[in-house]
């Protein structure tokens, strides 16, 4: 395929949608993905996708969706892009429906919608409880259609190593690793779209997939791409603990009537319903996680002193559960060995999603001309806290709107970047791998990963304290020093998972440092960022987006104002109806 093709890195919902849009505009795409695109992390999304179609006649509208998204974000999201997303949501759900997504239906045959966090409207379209999977498959099929037409060339099991930049600082392609052969190749492209997902592995065991390595965004960051709001990391209130990972129990379980409780004074205590009479079990995730943490850790009220609370659907009809929540209840049953239809599930919060990401303008372009970012790896739509079922929406929306500007940008005539630039970048990446191959230290990269993940999960999630963050920052430096002394066990030059992991680990450590530094700096509580010492939102001083740049091997923090031009600030409350 020609060097005219736009490169899309990442084949989850955002990357697939961008690919479709670019192809639809007649432009070819090279699609790079760490795994076959159909196995991307988006498949794990369960609950659904928001769109104010108002099927139930409740008076819902995109404007209300927008307002609830902004209130949910604790006013940190720039308002115009969030408005654009909510306005376009009905079109997106209709589009997915036309693509053949088997959304659940009403008796009349319309799309069915369910309740979700942070709203009192039935706004979430869903396909059983594996909505993300069904959406990925629909977009994957459309991409395959373009692939059959010759407009898409897939590079699966390839990992982006770096971006190529010309002398003017514009992005002109990427260097990527063919993981099975361990060869690095440079590809010219007139524009590059990053859709590489979130940084799950920074926090060790999370609801995320093992491919959420945080590596690609950090490579772009180190090459000059600006980051925004890294300290805003969503902890999902209901997941199940496993040895290998935490598994999500979707918010849709509560959307369909699931109730959360524990025992207090020997009686069942439905604490959300008591504390938040208006929203009950559907308070947004940041609040729900904080409450569960307080009840279990501070008050010691987990059942039998355990680190969990109950999520209960046993009062709901089996057949309804099977049709609407079958996929997620199946996960609980398979991994916990208990029947969730008739027994309350044991759940606890787990790291789930990053609101922060690469800084982008309203056309999704990063500060590097020609480099775009979409999906969970951008920072655009969710501010300090994302509402449930808005992530599938923001991924697809960003993928949808990036197509036209990327194609237009790609149309300009630029002087060809010399082969020597390509060779230099490839040489640098090869050299980095050679250093890993030659490393003969006493450390094991996977063990360092475990230590980093456990610490980040313990100290930098629901509750943040400056003194603890300072300790974590120091510890991360130590881990980084140890990561430089890894002893490789596998020196094979084919699909060397250990060598790849070892390099990615250094990226994750830098990502972790960035989160800690930004969290340390922000002296307020907003959305998912909660500091007991600064327990309130402080709009006078902190209504601003955190920006992080990497220069001379230093993390430099600055701030920019949030665009609040459409909805005035107000107090965020869920005990009463807004």
């Amino acid at each position: 395929m020609s060097e005219r093709a736009i490169i899309v890195v990442g084949g989850g919902l955002a990357g697939l949608m961008a690919t479709i849009r670019i192809c639809e505009l007649g432009h070819p795409v090279k699609l790079f993905s760490y795994v076959p695109v159909k196995r991307s992390h988006s498949v794990t999304a369960q609950g659904g996708i928001n769109a104010s179609i108002n099927v139930r006649g409740e008076g819902d509208s995109p404007q209300i969706h927008f307002e609830e998204t902004i209130v949910g974000s604790d006013f940190l999201a720039n308002q115009p892009p969030a408005k654009g997303m909510c306005d376009d949501a009905p079109n997106i759900v209709y589009l997915l429906d036309r693509m053949g997504v088997p959304f659940n239906r009403t008796p009349e045959g319309n799309l069915d919608f369910r309740g979700f966090g942070g709203t009192l409207y039935h706004r979430t379209a869903f396909a059983g409880a594996t909505t993300g999977q069904q959406l990925v498959y629909a977009l994957d099929e459309q991409v395959r259609r373009y692939e059959a037409e010759g407009l898409v060339e897939k590079y699966e099991y390839w990992s982006m190593q770096n971006i190529l930049k010309d002398s003017e600082g514009r992005c002109r392609g990427i260097a990527a690793l063919n993981m099975p052969t361990m060869e690095v190749t440079a590809f010219r492209a007139p524009a590059v779209v990053l859709a590489v997902g979130g940084p799950g592995l920074v926090f060790g065991k999370t609801t995320n997939s093992m491919i959420n390595t945080a590596s690609a965004v950090i490579r772009a960051f180190k090459s000059g791409a600006r980051f925004a709001n890294p300290e805003f990391v969503q902890v999902h209130p209901t997941a199940i603990a496993g040895l290998d990972k935490r598994r999500l129990i979707s918010e849709s379980v509560r959307g369909e009537g699931g109730r959360v409780w524990t025992y207090k004074d020997g009686k069942k205590w439905y604490f959300f319903e008591e504390m938040y009479p208006a929203y009950g079990n559907l308070v947004p995730r940041d609040i729900a996680s904080k409450v569960i943490y307080d009840i279990v850790v501070n008050q010691g009220l987990g059942p039998d002193g355990g680190r969990y609370v109950y999520l209960d659907v046993s009062h709901i009809d089996d057949d309804v559960l099977r049709r609407k929540l079958g996929g997620v209840l199946e996960i609980y049953e398979k991994f916990m060995g208990e029947d969730p239809y008739h027994n309350p599930m044991k759940v606890y919060p787990a790291v789930h999603y990053s609101m922060g990401g690469l800084w982008v303008d309203y056309s999704q372009m990063t500060n590097i001309p020609g480099l775009y970012a979409i999906g969970e790896c951008d920072y655009q739509y969710h501010g300090a806290n994302r509402l449930g079922a808005n992530s599938l929406l923001s991924c697809i929306y960003a993928g949808r709107i990036v197509g036209a500007p990327a194609v237009e940008y790609a149309g300009q005539e630029l002087p060809e970047i010399p082969d020597s630039t390509l060779a230099e970048v490839v040489g640098r990446e090869e050299q980095a791998f050679e250093e890993v191959f030659a490393s003969d230290g006493e450390q094991n990269a996977y063990q360092i990963q475990d230590e980093m993940g456990e610490m980040m999960d313990r100290d930098v999630t629901i509750v943040r304290e400056n003194a603890v963050l300072d300790k974590v920052a120091a510890e991360l430096e130590d881990l980084d020093a140890r990561a430089a002394r890894v002893g490789l066990r596998d020196r094979g030059r084919r699909m060397n998972a250990e060598a790849i992991f070892t390099r990615e680990l250094r990226d994750r450590l830098l990502y972790a440092k960035m989160i800690v530094k930004a969290a340390r700096a922000r002296e307020e509580s907003r959305g998912a960022h909660y500091k007991p010492a600064f327990a309130k939102r402080n709009d006078d001083e902190w209504l601003k987006t955190t920006l992080v740049d990497y220069s001379a091997e230093e993390l430099k923090i600055s701030y920019e104002p949030v665009d609040i031009s459409l909805l005035p600030l107000r107090e965020r409350r869920y005990d009463v109806k807004h």
Partner: protein, 249 residues
């Protein structure tokens, strides 16, 4: 309860390298799945005999049995390593890669052909574009349930591994692809291209290559009605044959 778990893992550094076996022994815990055992080996790759080695390589992503990546043969049965619980397995637990796809390394294979066969089968809805064209066609709850059950196929390849008709030297696309054809022929808009898909599936490698062994349906982790779908497709094929015959004459 055993205090340790013993694994016997087939190793192979690449498709042209010689395969060999290694045994590993790791501490037992409750709720161990095979996937976590592999992760444990990664953290200290030493064989049962105390010999330092490299960690086996395998494919993985979601660990929730929804991506299909970690499919392998476990004690002779093809399944996902994430949902394979140690308490339900006999020891030593024997791990082997899928046999019908090119090997990448150790337990990791390249299932690209599977996706290529989906391309051949045209399993997509030929939408006019992504611009706002209003709602899709209405759909009954019953039809949605049938389509959803088929749509959960995660392209893992369990059904292909056990199919006597499927193999690297044979053209048969296998049960999963045939079920996808049924899925798209069931969609009101997708049905408009039903004949194109049926035409593809009437060629060598299509439905007539199915030997009706019915192994596929027994191993599908998502309990997709594969044989029922092949039968339904067979009936569609009869109709298509007749239509084709009368159009030609």
């Amino acid at each position: 309860m055993p205090k340790t778990v013993v694994f016997r893992i087939k190793r192979q550094a690449g498709p042209d390298e010689r395969p060999y076996w290694e045994e590993f022994e790791i501490p037992y815990q409750e709720r161990l799945n095979v996937l976590f055992c592999l992760q444990t080996i990664q953290r200290n790759p030493v064989t049962r005999l105390g010999k330092p080695t490299s960690a086996p390589v395998w494919d993985q992503s979601c660990l929730e049995e929804v991506c299909g990546a970690c499919t392998m043969i476990i004690n002779g049965v093809v399944r996902q390593a994430c949902t394979a619980l140690v308490d339900e397995l006999e020891q030593p637990i024997v791990l082997e890669p899928l046999t019908k796809f090119p090997l990448i390394k150790d337990l990791m294979v390249d299932r690209k052909r599977f996706f290529d066969d989906l391309k051949k089968s045209k399993t997509w809805v030929a939408i006019d574009g992504t611009h706002a064209l209003g709602a899709g066609p209405g759909c009954s709850q019953e039809l949605q349930q049938i389509r959803y059950a088929l749509a959960r196929c995660m392209t893992c390849g369990c059904c292909l591994e056990v199919c006597p008709q499927y193999g690297p030297e044979r053209p048969f696309v296998g049960a999963a692809v045939l079920a996808q054809v049924r899925l798209f022929n069931l969609h009101p808009t997708g049905a408009m291209q039903a004949d194109e898909r049926l035409e593809e599936m009437s060629k060598p490698g299509g439905i007539t290559d199915c030997g009706n062994a019915q192994n596929c349906v027994r191993v599908c982790p998502k309990e997709i009605p594969l044989t029922e779908s092949i039968a339904a497709l067979g009936r569609q094929m009869v109709g298509y044959g007749l239509r084709k015959f009368f159009t030609k004459s």
